[in-house]
């Protein structure tokens, strides 16, 4: 596969060429923060960002999407969004999260709504240029990735090293003017990787992430769940900003003529009160502490069992920044458990 070195000015032309042919979603400034949004011009792209407000999952699993339409009393019809698009500037930890979601939405029952969007997307990843305030990707082994993207960009001073990883990426990269990356450029890229493997670590996990399922296996009744959840607002912000939270609710809406309608799904959150409520009034996970524990068990025990042991927390740190009472930080909780229960 091609590995090119592209100058900054050629890179701008490359991005504008992508925008001209395909819907391109890239990282842009939003106030003093950053987020993914459709790009109108390469000059709006900010690959020097630290972290985006929301994870890129919304382009595959939108906050709300129509699954079906129907005639009242008649047949149902599938709806899907099948527009091709490019997702530009995805950080490695988010690439890992997308790969995990891909596996979850394909296994057991293939979710064509998610997978249609996913298969229509080209992912252009970029290595982190600036660590965010709460990133701990180094601790989770997600600071650098070598799969899960179509093209990987790494900024090396005066330009980018761009490596195609798939046929889709190869075709896109053919539009970029550049030279084959020389050993000096590749060495600089290695230096970026070496730096990021260590520096994306504002919170340091005291164990190998692979140990977390074992740690949780003995932590179910630990007082930390109750202690942390005492100040939880049950607002679900941690669910919303998490790149690997994918729980959803489904609801019907009828149009004004009462003849047709839509069935939609929308993000839901296991921290929200009522998530497990059934009619008439029984709630299976009623206590805040139980819901708080459930989220962290999903990240480091339950979901890993479904995806070959991969830990479903990728260290983006978004929940740490989003949580108003400051209790969501997974590293604080896991480290506390390690302190109390040891590593044996």
């Amino acid at each position: 596969m091609t590995v090119k070195k592209i100058t900054k000015s050629d890179f701008v032309r490359f991005v504008d060429a992508l925008i001209a042919t395909t819907k391109t979603i890239g990282v842009q400034a939003k106030g003093d923060r950053f987020d993914f949004a459709p790009l109108a011009s390469a000059k709006d792209l900010r690959l020097d960002y630290d972290v985006t407000l929301g994870p890129p999952k919304k382009f595959f699993l939108p906050p709300a999407e129509v699954l079906l339409t129907y005639q009242v009393g008649g047949a149902y019809e599938s709806q899907c969004d099948d527009q091709e698009f490019i997702l530009l500037g995805v950080h490695p930890y988010d690439v890992v999260a997308i790969s995990q979601m891909d596996e979850l939405f394909q296994q057991d029952n293939y979710d064509a709504h998610y997978m249609t969007r996913r298969n229509n997307a080209a992912i252009i990843a970029c290595d982190v240029a600036r660590p965010s305030d709460h990133v701990f990707a180094s601790s989770m082994g997600t600071a650098v990735v070598r799969e899960g993207y179509d093209i990987l960009l790494t900024e090396i001073g005066d330009g980018y090293v761009a490596e195609a990883a798939t046929e889709k990426g190869e075709k896109l990269l053919a539009k970029a003017k550049g030279v084959p990356a020389d050993s000096q450029a590749l060495k600089k890229r290695e230096e970026v990787w070496a730096r990021n493997r260590k520096s994306l670590n504002k919170h340091e996990l005291k164990c190998d992430p692979a140990y977390l399922p074992k740690l949780l296996a003995k932590a179910y009744k630990h007082p930390v769940w109750e202690e942390q959840a005492k100040t939880c607002f049950s607002c679900g912000s941690c669910n919303q900003v998490c790149p690997t939270c994918y729980c959803f609710n489904v609801q019907d809406d009828v149009s004004w003529d009462l003849q047709t309608g839509t069935r939609s799904r929308a993000w839901d959150g296991c921290l929200l009160d009522g998530f497990t409520k059934v009619a008439p009034a029984h709630e299976f996970r009623k206590s805040r502490a139980d819901r708080f524990r459930h989220r962290l068990y999903r990240k480091a025990m339950y979901v890993p069992q479904k995806i070959g042991g991969q830990i479903a927390c990728v260290g983006c740190g978004r929940c740490v920044g989003a949580c108003l009472p400051d209790i969501a930080n997974p590293v604080s909780v896991y480290n506390r458990l390690i302190d109390d229960l040891g590593l044996g």
């Binding site: 009393g73 047949a75 599938s78 293939y110 064509a112 729980c247 497990t276 068990y297």
Partner: protein, 279 residues
């Protein structure tokens, strides 16, 4: 490229079924017999369907009839919310959407062959149990003793009364019934369903025990069975939860690491040791 409409099946797309028969069973329960418009419908007792009422939504309902009934299937629905309320308004000939049958945790139809069976039902817990009960009775020679314990809150909430009467008269079924609240019209047992356990004639320790009822009932039934040293692998519990998507994605029915819609709704008690949220 659009996969939902092309090579891949859309797992959220209901198929149409027609209401063949409908009747009000008591003040809260409605009986429905449905048949799929595209014909055949194969399921195993314990499986559920997602019933769609366009404009109202979907609700998971466990099938109440036995597969031996033929191509149609029966549901019994309590009116408690939006979707179940709309189900109660259905008339003969109306169309509903059906996804399913769903659930891989089913009644031990094969493993139970040759064994004695004890069904413990609380209230509308009888509804899913009835699927396996009728399957057993339609294949009577394949199974050992059958005891059915039914506890109901009050006289007017009793379900399937003609069927229960027929079972009582068969001679090859021990039918025990109790009401939580006594009633002038009721001459039988009064008290909770666990009070019937000592009356079971079959040896409980070697029997397969099948339990379905309100969440609170499980604790007391399990205590009663523990007193008689019933091995945990012989106890099967129907753990209904909020199976919203029914296909292991949406997260609502998850008990620790198990999705009820995938691993259940029927669970072997010995498998629940690792699921503290189950009971």
């Amino acid at each position: 490229m659009c996969q939902c409409c092309a090579e891949k099946k859309d797992i959220y797309l209901p198929q149409l079924a027609t209401v063949e028969d409908v009747s009000q069973m008591n003040i809260t329960e409605k009986y429905l017999r449905l048949s799929m418009d595209d014909g055949q419908f194969d399921f195993i007792p314990g499986q559920f369907v997602e019933v769609s009422i366009a404009g109202f939504g979907e609700a998971p309902i466990t099938i109440s009839s036995s597969p031996t009934l033929g191509d149609c299937f029966e549901l019994v629905v309590r009116k408690v919310g939006r979707v179940s309320g709309a189900i109660h308004n259905l008339k003969n000939g109306d169309k509903v959407g059906i996804r399913g049958p769903l659930g891989k945790g089913v009644y031990p139809v094969e493993e139970a062959k040759g064994k004695n069976l004890v069904f413990i039902c609380g209230g509308i817990g009888m509804v899913p149990q009835r699927s396996f009960i009728n399957y057993v009775l339609d294949n009577r020679a394949d199974y050992g003793d059958v005891a059915i314990l039914q506890g109901t809150k009050s006289y007017d909430l009793r379900l399937f009364t003609p069927e229960i009467e027929a079972w009582s008269k068969r001679g090859d079924v021990q039918m025990l019934e109790t009401l939580d609240e006594g009633d002038a019209r009721w001459k039988g047992n009064v008290g909770v369903v666990t009070k019937l356990v000592p009356k079971v004639e079959t040896d409980l320790k070697s029997a397969m025990i099948l339990v379905c009822g309100p969440p609170i009932m499980y604790k007391f039934v399990l205590m009663a069975l523990a007193e008689r040293d019933v091995p945990h692998q012989n106890i099967f519990l129907n753990l209904e939860r909020k199976m919203k998507c029914g296909i292991g994605k949406c997260g609502h029915c998850q008990i620790n690491n198990a999705y009820v819609c995938m691993s259940g709704p029927v669970f072997q008690y010995s498998d629940l040791a690792s699921l503290p949220e189950a009971i």
